[in-house]
């Protein structure tokens, strides 16, 4: 039994490939929005002592418990989150790794399951006093923004936030001033990633005021052709403008990837077909698969499906797979409590993937 510890995994995602906004072929896999807020008249996290941070946490906890709409929120002290449970929560809610650093008074509220397809969390005493964040599969900016501001509105009933009429919401880092609104999308760009145009593409993204990184922020290399793109400017623009711009940028990214796919199909059809079936062969016959290798292969299979160039595999949600084949998730699903070697996990991973995506399993 998974038990209470993993309550947050229940309530599966519906409408897997986000089609709410223009997103053919599921190129944008996920949308995440973060709002940073600080309590008015209080020192920010960096300048606060341990007891001051605890006081902030107590104040936020008190407010959350007083708000009717927050009845279903679960509270976790970051210090107490460990092992599989921590790993699963962090991945499922897309919480940044460094939130786990042991800092006094750091807390996390999560809403189990999904609300209108959005997973929400409130982080206390990270870079700023309060960070409200929401994630949703697919390209779903408006929907996620609505959820996140809904939480903010509830909090505002009990707490007042540091604000300046010139600088907007005051945040510890000047990079977040103004709206303190950060929109991040995860993009799957398997063809752009190998195309010689990738350099120009990255430059272009930077030039239009966005940042582009590897999805796995811990390492700079791109794994599984997954990119993370977010807005850089938060001040001098309204929330609506930032959302509109980000939507336009996403459309541009999608078009660029689709163009690159068309071009590749024209230039080197056999090459790409070969690549897709090689990946298929490896997934079908390999006995052990590391997480990184599995992602690389699944990315190419996903591309094959999107381009109608492969038979013999089930349609699958690539973004969901990213979380499904991690060591922690395998251990949870197989009810392994620990003491398992990496080799054995790689063996299980290959088996799980075969069962999930191959149409005929011997």
């Amino acid at each position: 039994m998974a038990g209470d510890k993993f309550y947050f995994l229940e309530n599966k995602v519906e409408n897997k490939r986000g089609r709410d906004e223009y997103n053919p072929d599921g190129i944008i896999l996920n949308t995440k929005i973060m709002l940073s807020r600080n309590l008015a008249g209080q020192k920010f996290v960096d300048a606060s002592s341990g007891s001051e941070k605890n006081a902030i946490l107590d104040r936020v906890r008190k407010s959350v418990s007083d708000i009717k709409e927050f009845e279903d929120l679960h509270y976790h002290k970051i210090r107490n989150l460990k092992g599989i449970q921590k790993d699963l929560i962090f991945r499922e809610y897309m919480i940044e790794e460094d939130v786990a650093n042991k800092v006094q008074g750091r807390g996390l509220f999560i809403r189990p399951g999904l609300n209108s397809g959005v997973r929400t969390a409130i982080i206390v005493n990270h870079e700023d006093h309060i960070k409200i964040q929401g994630t949703s599969p697919g390209l779903n900016i408006r929907r996620v923004y609505k959820e996140v501001t809904g939480i903010e509105k509830c909090l505002e009933k009990k707490l007042s936030f540091a604000f300046d009429d010139k600088l907007g919401y005051l945040t510890a880092s000047p990079f977040n001033l103004g709206t303190a609104l950060r929109i991040t999308v995860v993009a799957h760009l398997p063809v752009l990633a190998i195309s010689p145009k990738i350099g120009d593409f990255v430059k272009k993204i930077n030039n239009i005021g966005c940042q582009i990184n590897s999805y796995f922020s811990v390492q700079p290399e791109i794994i599984g052709n997954l990119f993370k793109i977010s807005n850089r400017i938060t001040l001098g623009k309204g929330e609506k403008d930032i959302i509109k711009e980000m939507q336009a940028i996403c459309s541009g990214i999608i078009e660029d990837e689709l163009d690159a796919r068309m071009q590749l199909k024209k230039d080197d059809f056999i090459g790409i077909e070969d690549n897709i079936y090689r990946s298929f062969g490896l997934l079908k016959y390999a006995k052990i698969l590391s997480y990184e290798e599995a992602l690389e292969l699944l990315s190419i299979i996903r591309l094959g499906l999107d381009m109608n160039m492969i038979d013999g595999v089930h349609d699958f949600d690539y973004f969901e797979m990213i979380n499904k084949i991690t060591n922690s998730r395998i251990m949870l699903d197989m009810e392994i409590s620990g003491g398992i070697s990496d080799d054995r996990l790689d063996l299980l991973r290959a088996e799980i993937i075969r069962k999930k995506i191959l149409k005929e399993v011997d």
Binding site: E127, F161, K166, P174, T234, L235, G236
Partner: protein, 179 residues
């Protein structure tokens, strides 16, 4: 119109960059444009938009080369001032890239605002305003105005008036922060 780079030849390209409220104009002559290897002659006459695009790109690449840490490296810490409210000093801000409280933005305004400007390209909030704090913002704004007035009174050595203003600031601050 003369070229802004060589100050000699007649300019043939006028580049206007609008960022927030700032409008920057650069006039460039054909020779300088070529020297900057931005465009060859053919391109300039056949496809002026492509030429302009290249110029804009160059401009942006320059802007982008200043990454997060670099922006803060330019922070002036010759006088390592400390914020009177949270106690954080400029060297720490420079190192972490984060300020210690709302008051830092007021006290280190002269030092931080150019940094914010270079990061965000603007110093004017156009986003939403908190629902329940409009009164507070008004109060904070008057405190800022009063502080400016206070400085003026001190410079002209009108200490009697300065003392009155100081008391008003204290009252307003008590009103906002409850201390």
């Amino acid at each position: 119109m003369k070229c802004d780079i060589c100050n000699n030849n007649e300019a043939v390209i006028c580049l206007i960059k609008i960022q927030g409220n700032d409008v920057e104009r650069v006039n460039i002559c054909r020779e300088c444009a070529r020297e900057l290897s931005l465009l060859d002659g053919v391109e300039l006459y056949n496809d002026p938009t492509a030429a302009l695009y290249k110029l804009l790109q160059m401009d942006n690449t320059v802007n982008n080369s200043s990454g997060k840490s670099k922006i803060f490296k330019s922070l002036d810490t010759r006088k390592n001032l400390k914020c009177s409210y949270c106690g954080i000093d400029l060297k720490t801000i420079k190192r972490t890239g984060r300020v210690g409280c709302s008051n830092c933005y007021i006290e280190f305004k002269n030092i931080l605002f150019p940094v914010i400007k270079s990061i965000q390209g603007s110093l004017e909030n156009k986003g939403k305003i908190p629902v329940n704090t409009s009164k507070k913002i008004r109060l904070e704004k008057s405190i800022r105005d009063l502080k400016r007035k206070l400085q003026n009174e001190i410079t002209i050595e009108n200490f009697e008036e300065a003392a009155k203003i100081r008391d008003r600031i204290k009252r307003l601050e008590k009103n906002i922060y409850g201390r």
